[in-house]
């Protein structure tokens, strides 16, 4: 499963706007198999059912937040490839997330080249 088009990506963010933007960036980078979840609980559920290759995880969400969802998914599948989506000032959260098993992070607002580079890196790390 090396081709981008066959890589299944789960995009988790409570804001439809952010999901849409990220989905479009992923699309234009050749990733076309994309699933979406609007909160942490839905993300855990979808991960269990669909086993995505890569998951992008927003941090601040109502209910189950990104950190909790990250931990649940890592507990379920220690090989999960999760990329945290954070804002610049959330350094502490990024570090905590990496410790908890996240593979990498991207910072909002998204930079196309950066998103693409991080995805390539995480894919290679498989």
């Amino acid at each position: 499963m090396s081709s981008r088009s066959s890589t299944k990506i789960l995009v988790v963010d409570d804001a439809l706007f952010m999901r849409t933007i990220l989905k479009d960036i992923l699309n234009s980078n050749g990733f076309t198999n994309i699933l979406e979840a609007g909160d942490g609980a839905a993300a855990i559920d979808m991960y269990r059912k669909n086993k995505p290759d890569i998951t992008t995880m927003d941090v601040n969400m109502p209910g189950t937040d990104g950190m909790q969802a990250l931990k649940s998914i890592m507990a379920m599948d220690p090989a999960a490839k999760i990329i945290m989506v954070t804002s610049v000032e959330q350094k502490q959260i990024m570090q905590d997330a990496i410790k908890a098993g996240a593979k990498d992070y991207v910072v909002k607002p998204f930079d196309r080249a950066m998103v693409s580079a991080v995805l390539s890196k995480v894919m290679r790390g498989r």
Partner: protein
């Protein structure tokens, strides 16, 4: 993203609206419970998400503003900062600005000022004034500390007293025309000065009214009701202290109207009314007072239920209830411990009833009147004094001591034949305007022995908790403008009065609060 952001603008605007709305809702909830973690988190999250979205769209001003809001809510969450009441209105204003910037991407806002204010919430709490007012106010303005204004009012008060003393010493009994004329112009100047000074403390009711439409919208939509709020007289001005004091009662009355008065759309339609209920909030000036009316076209107050409730709560007996006129039954609405809402909602059925509204309004020398028509609606009329610092007072004497009753609570004065006093339930009463009015010796409440009058006694009818109440006094003298001095809590303050004034002869007179007599 600036290359193709237009494609996302609609999506952005739509979702951004939801987040601003969410922040507003959370803030409204926080106003009731400032420590609610759920709502602090919710506001924080929305500000954060909005910040990310704005950054993505390249809207730097929105991003910066939301970042500052997010940081402030983070401080609230961590308990590093408390939300002051000034901050609530400031944040509402902030959210409005965010909304405006979302709607109009070219809108220029003095974001720097907001950022400064939001980063120094302490200074915000002190000023109580806002950045947006600073650049939207048309006449030139300067910011003055409330404290300085208070001292100015105090000084004018002292001047007024000095003038009165001088008048008593020389002014009234001089035959020198030049002295008399100088006195007259001095009098005019002092009252002009007094007027101008009081005017400085006045703020338009708009400052608090503007918060109501959002509240009405939120409360009504959460209950599935459709309510339109009409407002009038936004430019009418009131003393800031008075305005602050009536904010909560007004909020409560409006919530009550949405909660209990306005029916569900289907019920309204069934009753031949429009599906949308209307609440009208209007301010107007009546002499030296401001009249505020809160009017709804809802179901009206169910007087039978009010009476039944009062009987159930043992406020009145069944017989009394049966003999009651509608007006008398309406009077019950302001009685402590009476709430007729069928179920406790999170809006207004919190055990705080109209009695609290009544007592808060009366605390600032105001009066409340209720009119209701079953099936057609209810109107509350509040009469509020413009200011609390200088009020009209009636001078009364008890055992050679002078006291002041605020004119705002005086209904009438009368001489009563002792023979016409009746005893009902072991208490002395008199008839006044076809009503049975209880009598009390003012001296008893003050702990002073009051000599018993022989044939006639002098009675001042006052408004006590919305009902007439007869105070027996030795004599009443003149009506006059008095300068209110707050007694501090160090001991001078008594249970019947927390305020005093200095009379023309230099003596101190307590200002009596009828509600406490």
């Amino acid at each position: 993203m600036s290359d193709d952001k237009s494609a996302y603008r609609d999506l952005f605007v739509q979702e951004a609206h939801e987040h601003v709305q969410n922040m507003n809702e959370a803030l409204l909830k926080l106003e009731e419970n400032p420590k609610s973690k759920e709502h602090l988190d919710s506001a924080f999250r929305s500000a954060h998400t909005l910040k990310g979205m704005a950054a993505t769209m390249g809207y730097d001003q929105i991003k910066e503003l939301c970042k500052a809001i997010e940081e402030l809510f983070d401080k609230f969450r961590k308990g590093e900062e408390n939300i002051s009441s000034e901050m609530f209105s400031y944040l509402f204003k902030c959210f409005d600005t965010v909304q405006e910037m979302i709607d109009d991407e070219n809108k220029k806002v003095n974001v720097e000022q907001y950022l400064n204010d939001l980063r120094n919430p302490a200074s915000l709490a002190k000023q109580g004034e806002t950045a947006s007012q600073q650049h939207s106010a048309l006449p030139q303005t300067i910011r003055v500390k409330m404290q300085d204004l208070d001292s100015l009012v105090d000084l004018v008060g002292e001047l007024l007293i000095a003038k009165m003393r001088l008048e008593q010493m020389v002014g009234n009994n001089t035959t020198d025309n030049r002295v008399r004329h100088t006195f007259m112009s001095l009098g005019r100047l002092v009252s002009d000065l007094q007027y101008q000074t009081m005017k400085l403390r006045l703020v338009p009711v708009e400052q608090i009214f503007n918060r109501f439409p959002r509240m009405i919208r939120d409360v009504s939509s959460s209950q599935g009701k459709s309510v339109k709020l009409e407002m009038d007289g936004l430019g009418i001005e009131l003393d800031r202290t008075v305005l602050d004091a009536i904010t909560d009662p007004l909020l409560h009355m409006l919530r009550n109207a949405v909660d209990h008065a306005i029916e569900m759309p289907d019920e309204r339609e069934g009753a031949g009314k429009s599906r949308t209920g209307t609440i009208r909030l209007a301010a107007s000036k009546v002499g030296d007072r401001v009249m505020i009316t809160v009017e709804d076209d809802g179901r009206g107050i169910d007087l039978e239920r009010v009476k039944a409730k009062a009987v159930e709560k043992k406020i009145i007996t069944k017989e009394e209830a049966d003999a009651m006129t509608d007006d008398e039954a309406l009077d019950l609405v302001g009685t402590p411990g009476l709430s007729t809402a069928k179920q406790v909602t999170d809006i207004s059925g919190r055990g705080v009833g109209m009695d609290v509204v009544f007592s808060q309004i009366e605390l600032v020398g105001g009066q409340v009147k209720i009119e209701t028509k079953k099936g057609q609606g209810t109107r509350f009329t509040l009469l509020i004094p413009l200011s609390l610092a200088i009020i009209g007072g009636l001078l009364i004497t008890i055992s050679n001591e002078k006291y002041v009753l605020p004119l705002s609570s005086v209904i009438s004065t009368m001489r009563v034949d002792t023979k016409s006093v009746k005893i009902v339930h072991g208490k002395e009463v008199i008839m006044f305007r076809d009503q049975v009015v209880p009598l009390a010796r003012t001296g008893n409440a003050l702990g002073i022995k009051q000599q018993d009058s022989s044939d006639f006694m002098t009675v001042v009818i006052v408004n006590k908790n919305g009902r007439p109440y007869g105070l027996i006094v030795d004599a009443f003298e003149s009506k006059q403008e008095i300068v209110v001095k707050r007694l501090d809590s160090s001991g001078a303050s008594s249970s019947v009065s927390s305020e005093a004034t200095i009379l023309g002869d230099g003596k101190v007179a307590l200002i009596l609060d009828p509600a406490k007599l």
